[in-house]
């Protein structure tokens, strides 16, 4: 019953288990598979080389998600400084899954979700879908729990607003254009 009897596995051996959820979170932020996989790759390398900073026994998934979102926002700041996003680049990078299940309402939902800011997508995915508590999400996002709650409620409202525009000008039109744009690209990203 001493501490020594509790054998903690090397957290690096557990990284594989978190790849699916890291990818899901990365795609939620980037809405682009190639960019998301690059982001996951950067996260894994950072986690691996900084594994001594992880406190064994604490939430490894939370730690990895924090690295991923910090990397995403810092890359985004860097990119913004380098080049202004040219027109259409954002639409072209939207993540569109090939899906033929005909579930229109869900496609509408996803189109609306794509139009949210990354900050709004992030908060909704963290507290809504990936099962983190408000407190855990707050720690990851480095904001107060109250901010998480108010941001989530604003995000939900935006989502409803966008879905209310179902017959609006170009929600689906954009998505189709984006699909073509994505298909027309190699899908690779510059390093």
């Amino acid at each position: 019953m001493t501490d020594q009897e509790i054998v903690h596995p090397d957290p690096r051996d557990e990284l594989t288990n978190y790849l699916p959820s890291l990818r899901a979170f990365a795609i939620s932020l980037t809405r682009n598979v190639a960019a998301a996989d690059d982001l996951v790759q950067d996260t894994i390398v950072k986690a691996w080389t900084n594994i001594d900073k992880f406190t064994v026994g604490t939430n490894l998934q939370g730690w990895l998600f924090t690295i991923l979102r910090n990397t995403f926002y810092s890359d985004r700041r860097k990119r913004k400084r380098e080049v202004a996003d040219p027109d259409g680049a954002h639409a072209a990078s939207l993540y569109v899954r090939p899906e033929h299940d005909g579930r229109l309402a869900f496609n509408d939902f996803r189109a609306a979700f794509d139009r949210l800011s990354p900050e709004h997508r992030e908060v909704l995915i963290l507290v809504g879908a990936s099962g983190f508590s408000v407190e855990e999400a707050a720690a990851m996002m480095n904001v107060a729990p109250g901010t998480v709650k108010s941001r989530a409620s604003r995000a939900r409202k935006r989502l409803c607003d966008f879905m209310g525009m179902k017959d609006g000008e170009d929600v689906l039109g954009n998505i189709e254009g984006a699909t073509l744009a994505v298909m027309g690209r190699s899908g690779t990203q510059a390093a």
Binding site: L15, V40, Q41, F109, I125, C160
Partner: protein, 43 residues
């Protein structure tokens, strides 16, 4: 409405969680492991 949103969000997320992880990540982890063992293990 809120519950519907939660369900849809869960689906957006779970759809990707259910996908196969690309091989590049297995490769990456193997490379990291190899690099570590070459340089004498845990840094």
């Amino acid at each position: 409405m809120k519950r519907e949103i939660e369900q849809n969000l869960k689906r957006v997320y779970d759809d990707v969680v259910g996908e196969d992880v690309p091989d590049r990540f297995k490769l990456l982890l193997a490379q990291l492991r190899e690099k570590d063992s070459r340089s004498g293990g845990h840094k």
